[in-house]
Symmetry: C2
Subunit: 321 residues, 2 copies
């Protein structure tokens, strides 16, 4: 059993052994640039941690963890382009630095390298792992599509919003845990509860992200503060505001969405404050956090072996960036 | 042994059984739209035809052929966006009809569905097939990157150009043939010569494409006539013109590249005519065509079993659209 930081160190070593070809540099340099920005590597470490609950870490687990992280970075590259995000982890995004076509093509090639690693999994597990991986990869695309579709609509319901973040964000955390367990030979029941733990953790994590986008500090998050509000992305805040608003307030919210002036961010935040959205969001984060811990309790493994997973949940949910 | 049209009919039936989920329609409708445009389905049929040289068609072969066609369409979707092509097979391209983000994301999800089909290949072959498939997928991205890099340069050498089209176009035809043979249990020598036949056929095919872009008829090709010239894409024509031009003519060629006015296409074609490029290109197409037929001769299979492959080569190389 290893802690997050121990597995992270080991993972970075394994992950660092993955190198892209040298040429064409215009294709591969942006891939390395993105991977070198760092990032928390939460998904691969969760995969390894889950695997360690049932077995000694082996090549199958390392390669799956690597595939997950490569695939995740591929989606970041394309999402940043589609969302026209200027910053990622405090650095210029790929399309900002290298152009749109590069962000498309370097992303594409990175996703193929993810499958290169999946292809190293041995015969016993390869079909199951690719099946679970693909199902999740498809859901992530669907989630991103919903996210973009929602931008064009004035309002979305809370159910729609929760479905979107489940697909776009939670299922990959959930599947990272499930894949580690599958490769460790865990029972299907065991895999299922770990999956649900990951899904709930993922929802809490995304809600925390929504919170930090509006109420965090830009220098800490490495992103543009209020970026979601300025680009009319649907978040818990806008979905909740729509839910609790009366007719007059819905008109006000709609007017705020249509604004493009400098005061938009400040006035939208004041509007959310009036409807008590910050506090409602905090309660919701706490609800999912509690649920996640309860699900972790249910994983049929001796408690002391779960302390590291518990610590990751703490890290993700108690962060301020 | 089946002819191209027999295998095409069978393939369309199998391929038609592949359906995308209904929702989100904004993600999947563009995928179906592109696949329903048709296309020659050359790559999957070559895979099936090659497989039939050695074995009875089975699920492994059908799924591999399907994966190849899905992957090919994924690259078309992204390439059309990167190249800003308005038309494909006489229809509006995806980014023109549905927008840039859709072309990115629908392409992404289509590539995952390609891997879904590869994951249906049985245990004996899955690792080898994914390995060959990925190596080719990576080369295709590299080829597209070189193609884009070349657009920014005034000139490319003939060697550079040939490397680019080999990666971008030929290797997928070559690998389609190789995969069919691998799944049919062919010897590695056999697979190799089929691969080389496909690669040479692919080069002749791309040179023919270059020819038709400049000297074809738009209504027949379904593409914008002279599109390559207007967008400063490097083709055999520009690479050859640079090779045979004297210093004064190179300056002329450079001036033509920098023009954006209405007369650019007409004047560039006249310039190529002056340097005899059309006839040189015809000779080059004939050279590669002959080489392809010679390689097909060398495939260690009784001649009468290769008549259908021969007919496909005829179809690809003697087309006028």
């Amino acid at each position: 059993m290893h802690s997050f930081s121990e597995l992270l160190t080991e993972f970075e070593l394994f992950f660092g052994r993955h190198s892209f070809p040298k040429n064409p540099a215009s294709l591969y340099e942006p891939c390395s640039y993105l991977l070198n920005m760092g990032g928390k590597r939460v998904r691969p470490v969760l995969c390894l941690m889950s695997h360690e609950l049932f077995a000694t870490l082996n090549e199958n687990a390392w390669n799956t963890a690597t595939a997950i992280e490569l695939f995740h970075n591929f989606t970041l590259m394309h999402d940043d382009l589609m969302d026209d995000a200027p910053l990622r982890r405090g650095f210029q995004t790929i399309h900002e630095k290298y152009g749109h076509s590069t962000a498309i093509l370097s992303g594409d090639v990175m996703s193929i390298f993810a499958y290169e690693h999946l292809n190293k999994i041995n015969t016993t597990y390869i079909h199951t792992v690719i099946e679970l991986f693909n199902a999740t990869a498809i859901q992530i695309c669907e989630g991103q599509q919903l996210d973009m579709d929602f931008e064009k609509r004035p309002f979305v319901t809370m159910d729609e919003y929760m479905e979107m973040i489940t697909l776009k964000t939670s299922v990959l955390l959930a599947t990272s845990l499930r894949l580690g367990a599958v490769l460790g030979g865990a029972t299907s029941g065991c895999c299922e509860v770990l999956y649900n733990f990951g899904k709930t953790l993922g929802i809490a994590f995304q809600l925390k992200d929504d919170y930090l986008d509006a109420f965090g500090i830009s220098a800490e998050t490495g992103k543009q503060l209020g970026g979601d509000i300025l680009s009319n992305k649907k978040t818990y805040l806008s979905a909740k505001a729509y839910e609790v608003a009366n007719n007059q307030e819905r008109i006000e919210l709609n007017d705020l969405l249509n604004r493009t002036d400098e005061g938009k961010l400040k006035d939208t935040l004041a509007f959310f404050q009036k409807l008590n959205i910050q506090s409602l969001l905090q309660q919701e984060i706490e609800k999912y956090t509690l649920q996640a811990y309860e699900l972790l309790e249910k994983v049929p493994v001796v408690s002391r072996n779960k302390v590291h997973l518990h610590a990751v949940a703490d890290m993700l949910l108690k962060r301020d960036k």
